[in-house]
Amino acid sequence: MGWTPFVFLSPFLLTFCVFLAYPLYDSAILAFSQTYGPSHSVWVGFANFKNMFQDPDFWTALKNTSLYTLASVTIQLPLALLLALILNQPGLKGRTLFRLIFFLPSLVGLVFVAMMFSLMLGDRDGLVNVFLRSVIPGFPGEFPWLQNYVMASLILASLWMYVGFNMVYFLAALQSVSQDALDAAAIDGANAIQRFWYVILPEIRPVFGFVVLLSLIGSLQLFELPYVLLNGAGPERRGLTLVMYLYQNGFDRNDLGFASAIGWTLAILLMGLALVQRRLSRNE
């Protein structure tokens, strides 16, 4: 046997060393350097971080990203769970077909979703406004989503895209909830909400934690959707996100050092949130 496992692992080990470990080490150095393009860099200590924290754009990006992330977790996930619970009812016909349909939008890349929504959110004749006008009486004839309601637009597009994706995870988790336990609870007089809270929720908690984590990682790194939808940061930078801020500094302004400092800030934020999430899901 001897070397066999290492032969099998060699592609991973090789790409790990070259394209992960080294860049990771390099990014730590870059974060403390002032650079112009890929080949000029000078050590500047904490200057990048200092400049970043003094840059109002950073705080705008942080605010927008946090808002979007909060919305993803508090709107998207409950909707996904609700849809999963409905689909999981015993005796429901067409479950596989519904699951397939709801899942479809998550296959569309963010760039292409942005392309579709850039027209569907048109202020007068966009599909969304035409629909809302026909459902809500008195809905204004003109509703400038992409000018004045940037965050709402982003949240709307991501709802279409991700609710079904998250639902698939919840639905898989619900398979492990025993129908006997639910029936027993019902006979003991537990209503639907109590059954959900005391029987279903404890059973799906691990998957719930996993989905929250996935959602956090995805939302905090939002970039393509606003970048293509708004052709950049959008009016008054209302669509500026942390990764867009990173992209603009690193690749429009060619400052890879500053971009690395932003990258590390994002990474620390993400790991912090992951730790908090883990703590929370363990304690209860």
Binding site: M1, T4, P5, F8, L9, P11, F12, L14, T15, F16, V18, F19, L20, Y22, P23, L24, D26, S27, L30, P38, S39, L83, Q89, I101, F102, F103, L104, G109, L110, V111, F112, M115, S118, M120, L127, W160, V168, A172, A173, V207, V211, L220, Q221, F223, E224, V228, N231, V243, L246, Y247, G250, F251, L256, G257, A259, G263, W264, L266, L270, M271
Partner: protein, 293 residues
């Protein structure tokens, strides 16, 4: 007694009605943007905003067929101002090469971690798990610098090489090998004198076939939809994959809606078709990491 049973039955029926009505509504909301996209890509300029979906008229099925056109699709592939056809080929090449190779390499790596006892196994497994929490955007700037020094900027090698053995795939295959490859079977094959590499290809791979299907599709999708990577790496427009090309077109032809939607439709269709073939494996593979832990 009879009354009570009837009331319960009626309640049940009512509940069912509400359930299906809700699901149907949700399905319509989900599907309408797709239908709208296709309609938008074949509607003539003159009636583009006049009708939400297809133009109404006196033709067959009440549709004004004369206002429909395939002009946008012809323009997409015929125009010399941009390279849409080339981008489509680029995307197919990029996504299928990366998907095939990384599925093979991840299966190999996952197999080694799941089924071999060797010094360093724990360390490597921890490394794999560690990789999972590193956000990709942290690596953008240093990877750009690395590719610059390796001379791999503006090349598909620069895009594909770093993605050949993602930790996420190693982890998925490790889980799937632990669950579905019996160690006894491997021992039996070894006693029969079967070489390690033959065992891997003829015994192990067929056992994890669902995961292979799922991971192929996951990677294909990831590459097909990848934007930030190629956006940073490529300078030559002929090398752009679809995601980058479409974003460029949006900047250049911001008011040629039909053209933009035709391009989007062509970009979305292949992954939809692929998914319909592999959907069972895909969803099972996607959720296996989470559910089995």
């Amino acid at each position: 007694m009879n009354d009570a049973a009837q009331i319960r039955k009626r309640k049940e029926l009512f509940r069912k009605g509400i359930t299906y009505a809700f699901l149907l509504l949700a399905a319509v909301v989900t599907l309408v943007p797709f239908a709208w996209l296709i309609c938008a890509s074949i509607k003539d300029k003159d009636v583009f905003f006049q009708y939400m979906f297809l133009p109404v008229g006196h033709g067959f099925l009440g549709i004004d067929w004369k206002s429909l056109t395939l002009e946008y699709y012809k323009d997409l592939f015929g125009s010399t101002d941009f390279n849409f056809g080339r981008s489509l080929l680029n995307s197919i090449f990029y996504a299928s090469t990366t998907a095939t190779l990384s599925t093979l390499f991840c299966a190999m790596g996952g197999y080694a971690l799941a089924k071999f006892q060797f010094k360093g196994r724990e360390t490597i497994t921890t490394m794999v798990l560690g990789c999972l929490i590193i956000p990709g955007s942290l690596l953008l700037a240093p990877s750009y610098q690395l590719l610059y020094h390796l001379g791999l900027l503006d090349s598909y090698a620069g895009l594909i090489l770093p993605a050949l053995a993602p930790a996420f795939g190693i982890y998925l295959f490790r889980q799937s090998m632990l669950n579905s490859v019996p160690t006894d079977l491997l021992e039996a094959a070894r006693i029969d004198g079967c070489g390690e590499y033959r065992i891997f290809f003829t015994v192990v791979l067929p056992l994890v076939r669902p995961m292979i299907g799922a991971f192929l599709l996951i990677t294909f999708l990831g590459c097909w939809n990848n934007f930030i990577g190629p956006q940073i790496i490529f300078q030559t427009p002929e090398k752009y994959p679809l995601a980058v090309e479409i974003a460029q077109l949006k900047g250049l032809y911001s008011t040629n809606y039909g053209l933009l939607m035709a391009g989007t439709a062509i970009s979305v269709a292949p992954v939809m078709i692929l998914f319909l073939f592999l959907q069972k494996e895909f969803i099972a593979g996607l959720t296996s990491g989470a559910v089995k832990g």
